[in-house]
Amino acid sequence: MTDEAHPDLLSHYARSLGIEVSGFEDNVPVLRVSGIDAIEGRPDHFHGGATSGLMETAAYAALRMALSERGEEAQLKPINITVQFLAAAKKAPLFAKARITKLGRRSANVTVEAWQEDRERPRASAVMNVMIQRDAKA
């Protein structure tokens, strides 16, 4: 199982929402959440909050992978997120993958897309700024 090799990619929240690591593309995790009741907004569709929760988790997972590849440990804290809801996501598996546009000393900028059956037609996209605290242990 890919996610057992990287157990630190998912938070309590992500795991209890049913988010899983579905695979890796060039060492970037692709996350997935199934169309379970916990994600439902209006009948048979994703709640926007669940969609953005998946995208946020994909952003953190990509950053944790990138930092661990560099042999660095850091605490990640969200600064902000802007989500564009492009099309209603149906109650079916939803995928998300992040692209790190900047990985700086103190912050990172990450874009994320979420899709269902057709990757060329994303359901939502997000841009996120994340604080990176490399020294903070407390």
Partner: protein, 143 residues
Amino acid sequence: MFDPAAASPFLLSGGHPGWLGLAYRDHGPDWVELVLPWREELMGDDVRRVIASGPIFSMLDMAGGMAIWAHAQRFVPVATLDMRVDYQRPAGERADVIGRCECYRTTRSAAFVRGIAHDGDPDDPVATMAAVYMTIGGAPKND
């Protein structure tokens, strides 16, 4: 007539809001306040026992939609088009988080919402939000 208090058991009991445990707290003519109770499954990391940012986003999205219905005085189908959340600070350890959103403007096809999340003191927010929702098949108000 849309009554956020009366509609909450229906709106918040199932699906994602139900899983989060969202509950109604208060409302006014153009605003709605919800509460997101702390629980371990909503934690964002292992170090700090605080609610993750994802559930706070969800609560603000939900409170924003309900604020639109309060403002329009009726239920209208809406879909979030764009939403931004600035996370000012982590919520307190084991703290419930309160979300208050206000619909300050509606047009024929769009509704504009702003809001805050806090853990007890509205003057010291955990997060602020701004969002635009699109109405699906009908104006939210006669304008």
